[in-house]
């Protein structure tokens, strides 16, 4: 198996802390857009810097499109591209699995904590 396989490269992207949340919010809005500040409001705990870094990476990958209204102050809108939207299918499958099975994983970890002799 190749440690540089496409799957690993993809996980290096969507595995970063805020990426999956940004993609989900933009997917819910698709084909509409969200502004920088609106995304910031909907992702509790994210800093301006991390939202900026996250979105730049998504734009660079071609998963998200950035549109600037040249007003003062500027209004910047983000939306998923067709490529980004196509990622929603496997990503929502992963979300469904997580919501269904993460509680069981949590229980398994608690059991491991209670029986440290295994």
């Amino acid at each position: 198996m190749d440690p540089r396989c496409p799957t690993r490269q993809l996980l290096d992207r969507i595995g970063t802390k805020w990426t999956s949340m940004a993609v989900k919010l933009l997917a819910e809005e698709a084909p509409g857009e969200l502004r920088f500040a609106e995304l910031r409001r909907r992702i509790p705990g994210i800093s301006q810097k991390m939202l900026s870094v996250t979105l730049q990476s998504l734009v660079r990958d071609g998963l998200v499109a950035r549109r600037v209204e040249p007003t003062v102050p500027p209004a910047v809108h983000y939306r998923l591209t067709a490529l980004g939207l196509s990622l929603e299918d496997p990503l929502s499958a992963l979300r469904d699995w997580a919501e269904t099975h993460m509680p069981e994983i949590d229980r398994n970890n608690q059991l491991a904590d209670e029986s440290p002799l295994d």
Copy 2:
């Protein structure tokens, strides 16, 4: 959106460098088992330490089962649990997407490198 949502917790696990490869190899073998050294051989570049850490984490989560034959030297076998096997569906969907679309993402990044003024 909750930054501690199940999806993020799941990505924190399968997003680590070697986890998705270990799961894939064990899934291909399911319901059979693989030994430590055999996994090591099939994951080029992984160190003993990282394979050990990766497998321990998977066992702790209940995604992988560990079976020790008390011989000298010991023979340790790993296999996916039912829970681990259920993860294969969304994970293979993600792999399929990665193989199909990562080349396009690579091209997008190359274009971004060539046009730094955007």
